[in-house]
């Protein structure tokens, strides 16, 4: 697994290979982001449904 870096000061492309530890950290970060995103989408959906319900029954607007 690698990162591609274009250094604009030298105009060179570097291939930065990730160490095993860095790869493990990145995979862990992806898993965390997926979990956070699932929670964020769920929370947003609940908020929107709550807002619609409040408007329907005449609360806050």
């Amino acid at each position: 697994m690698h990162e591609l870096v274009f250094d604009c000061s030298t105009k060179e492309v570097k291939v930065v290979e990730l160490s095993e530890q860095e790869q493990a950290a990145l995979v862990d970060q992806w898993a965390q982001k997926e979990a956070q995103e699932a929670l964020r989408v769920k929370t947003k959906s609940i908020d929107e449904r709550l807002k619609a319900l409040e408007q329907k029954v005449g609360i806050n607007g």
Binding site: M1, H2, E3, L4, V5, F6, D7, C8, S9, T10, K11, V13, L18, L26, W30, A31, K33, E34, E37, R40, V41, K44, S45
Partner: protein, 221 residues
């Protein structure tokens, strides 16, 4: 080696100082030799200059370092056929500071909106760990890992070598994870003031299989 030395011993000095020249003015004689060289003036304000290109090859991220400076006051990024390795993910980016660089992972304020298979959908965050360039709520409408990929452009204003906020806007087209579904989105984001030097693009999960990002600078006055 001996052939090169023989040639060097035979060639007379041209009178042109050895070194590198930028925006070069050259004089070439009848034999095709350079007899004069000098640095030319930089392009005029507003001129667009191609700065960098990166093509992904199952890469975790594509980064451009030592990019932002006072030479340019806007930066145009174009995205061509960016394909993720993982289905149903989004393209994201972070700005970096310093020579390292250190990528900032707080306070990105972004919004997306667009025509998603005939339905208007939008999403936003006021304080995210990265700017999101394609997010809508459902995985179904995120970037497909086959087909045309993610295509479009983004203009960033602000990161000009001084401590300032940066903002971006763009329009993109990509095929979503639902077969046959296509999405057109616009987005914008901003970040707290800093002296930015770099930017890094990556997927919300998994590598970038393929695709190209080009960077152009708009010369400052």
């Amino acid at each position: 080696m001996s052939t090169n030395n023989a040639i060097n011993n035979t060639l007379p000095n041209s009178g042109v100082a050895a070194g590198s020249y930028t925006n070069t003015n050259l004089t070439v004689n009848a034999q095709g030799l350079i007899t004069a060289a000098s640095n030319g003036a930089a392009g005029s304000s507003g001129a667009v200059v191609a700065l960098a290109t990166l093509t992904a090859s199952n890469s975790a991220s594509l980064a451009f370092t030592s990019l932002f400076s006072a030479t340019y006051y806007k930066y145009l990024f174009t995205f061509t056929a960016i394909l993720p390795a993982t289905d149903g993910v989004t393209l994201q980016c972070q700005l970096g500071t310093g020579a390292g660089p250190t990528y900032i992972a707080t306070a990105y304020d972004w919004v997306t909106a667009g025509n998603v298979q005939g339905t208007f959908l939008s999403d936003y965050s006021a304080s995210d760990t990265q700017a999101d360039l394609s997010k809508v709520s459902s995985t179904t409408y995120k970037i497909h890992n086959a087909g045309v990929g993610y295509n479009g452009s983004m203009l960033i204003v602000g990161p000009n070598g001084a401590s300032t906020a940066a903002s971006a806007a763009g329009s993109t087209y990509y095929q979503s994870s639902t077969a046959g579904g296509n999405v057109i989105l616009t987005f914008g984001w901003s970040q707290a003031a800093a002296t930015f030097t770099a930017i890094k693009f990556f997927m919300s999960s998994g590598n970038i299989t393929s695709g190209t990002i080009d960077v152009f600078g708009v010369l400052a006055g």
